[in-house]
Symmetry: C2
């Protein structure tokens, strides 16, 4: 009985070494190596290559190695009868909150404009805005959204949330399609932290953006396909939005020919808002492996009907 | 009896109109106009032209129109027997705090590096740092320093202060030359908010910067002459400092030939960390004028021996 690590990046080996060092009794394989596939009871995956999951006939569970598991649920090779788990990095939510705070503060104080002025040796003392001037709306009030609301609240921002269903939270949370217009109307900054599901794909569209106050600022730190790229460009070009900060994209790395690269009011970061730290989640992966083997319920199980 | 407004920028007229609208009974003159100079009882000044104060034989007080008054105390035409006042903008301290938070968050999350990468269409997911990784040291624990410490503390930073004399504050405050080495050694970020006095001029020198942890980050939001420019460049070039954020300079606007403009690790903003809002302080100026006329003590009087 063993674990196989399947990733689309160069971190497969690091993960294998880490899991082995934490649990020397568990065999851990790199999916690209040759080993007896029927031994594998858990696949530990991050955007694994298409088809790679079909190799294992005796899987008891699929362990996502990040917060989002959309890429597993969309995989036709992931048998719906096999439990899917995500990891909950204790830093994942606070890292996300700090990233969002950094981008909102940069927006408030015009730091990107000052950086561009510096490149031209331009002394341009433009006016600035204050924390009290902006109302922040957070779409998606799960673990990450709640952490973002908490940090922004402590910093002094007025914060509200929107979720699919009613939530108990320390801030007002609108819910469902009926709650959306009022929520959007009061969001000078819109932070998208929704999970990617068939229901949310393309939700950041022209019609949604039109519901925001004139000159609003969009931050998408969830998943690229939540956004209709061309609708964002149109909203920026008409002034409906003043700027957008994007950490996630339909295709990553963002292709060189994409219009976002050259748009002056789009700020790009390379999917670094919150990066899972293997060291802080390896123990969860090992606990889940042992739970599967021993027939106990694993941690952080995904509800396939909800998609998260 | 009247007020004269003396400024080196294009805001003299706006100030005159504002004071007149708030107190129609008080004559307010632009120093460049012709009017009976002996009528002037208060000079309301911001970096007034050299020699311009000598025109008024019957001054009862000099009212600075910003938080810093060094330019008044250095003016040989400002009779030491005449009281000097500054304005205390209710937003001045919170604006400063928000600026410092914005720059520290930008540093933590590498936003200037990401902005530069974007210009080159470069996808470079560099690691980031966390609020818990940085200890922030604030030099100058007056009204502004205290506000900065408060906001950074609420956001989660470990904060300490340094001041000339012992202070009661919500954070640990080192003091005097003896307290400086310990303070510096624990300041991964050094925020300078000292008043400019003969004692503090050039305090941000090579010997001070050498006391900081390797790779520290300097923020100067006080006055340009506190810093020895060449010492900063040397500290950046040897890696002693990782970056510096400067809002103030020996000469403003910063001359086009200055080395700071082209240094990759110097971030420049054009003296916008905290800008006095005339609307929020005009009433103080008027109250001080009436106090001078009626022989009562004005508000926010400067202690010439301390220099602030």
């Amino acid at each position: 009985m063993a674990i196989a690590v399947l990733r689309n990046d160069d971190k497969t080996n690091a993960w294998r070494s880490l899991l082995r060092s934490k649990a020397p009794d568990i065999p851990v394989y790199d999916y690209k190596d040759s080993f007896p596939k029927e031994e594998i009871r858990m696949a530990a995956v991050w955007k694994h290559p298409a088809g790679s999951l079909s190799a294992f006939p005796n899987l008891l569970g699929i362990q996502g190695l990040g917060a989002g598991v959309d890429f597993i649920l969309e995989d036709p090779d992931a048998d719906p009868g096999i439990p899917v788990m995500r990891v909950v990095d204790p830093y994942l939510a606070s890292d996300m909150a700090e990233y969002v705070l950094a981008q909102i503060m940069a927006y408030l104080r015009g730091l990107y404009v000052h950086a561009s002025d510096k490149g031209q040796k331009k002394w341009n003392p433009a006016p600035y805005r204050r924390i009290e001037d902006l109302r922040v709306g957070i779409m998606g009030m799960g673990q990450l959204g709640t952490a973002v609301a908490g940090l922004l609240g402590r910093t002094g921002f007025r914060v509200q949330g929107w979720a699919r269903t009613p939530k108990n939270a320390s801030v007002e949370v609108y819910h469902g399609p009926k709650g959306l217009p009022d929520f959007l109307q009061q969001s000078d900054v819109l932070v998208c932290l929704l999970p990617l599901t068939p229901e949310t794909q393309g939700i950041l569209s022209a019609s949604l953006l039109e519901g925001l106050p004139q000159g609003a600022f969009l931050i998408n730190v969830a998943r690229g396909p939540l956004l209709v790229d061309q609708d964002l460009i149109d909203a920026l070009d008409t002034g409906r939005l003043s700027a957008a900060c994007l950490d996630v994209f339909h295709q990553e790395p963002l292709p060189r020919e994409h219009l976002f690269w050259e748009h002056p009011n789009v700020w790009i970061t390379p999917h670094v808002a919150s990066v899972t730290d293997p060291d802080s989640v390896a123990d969860q992966v090992i606990r889940n492996y042992r739970a599967l083997i021993e027939g106990r319920p694993p941690e952080n199980l995904i509800d396939r009907r909800k998609g998260y």
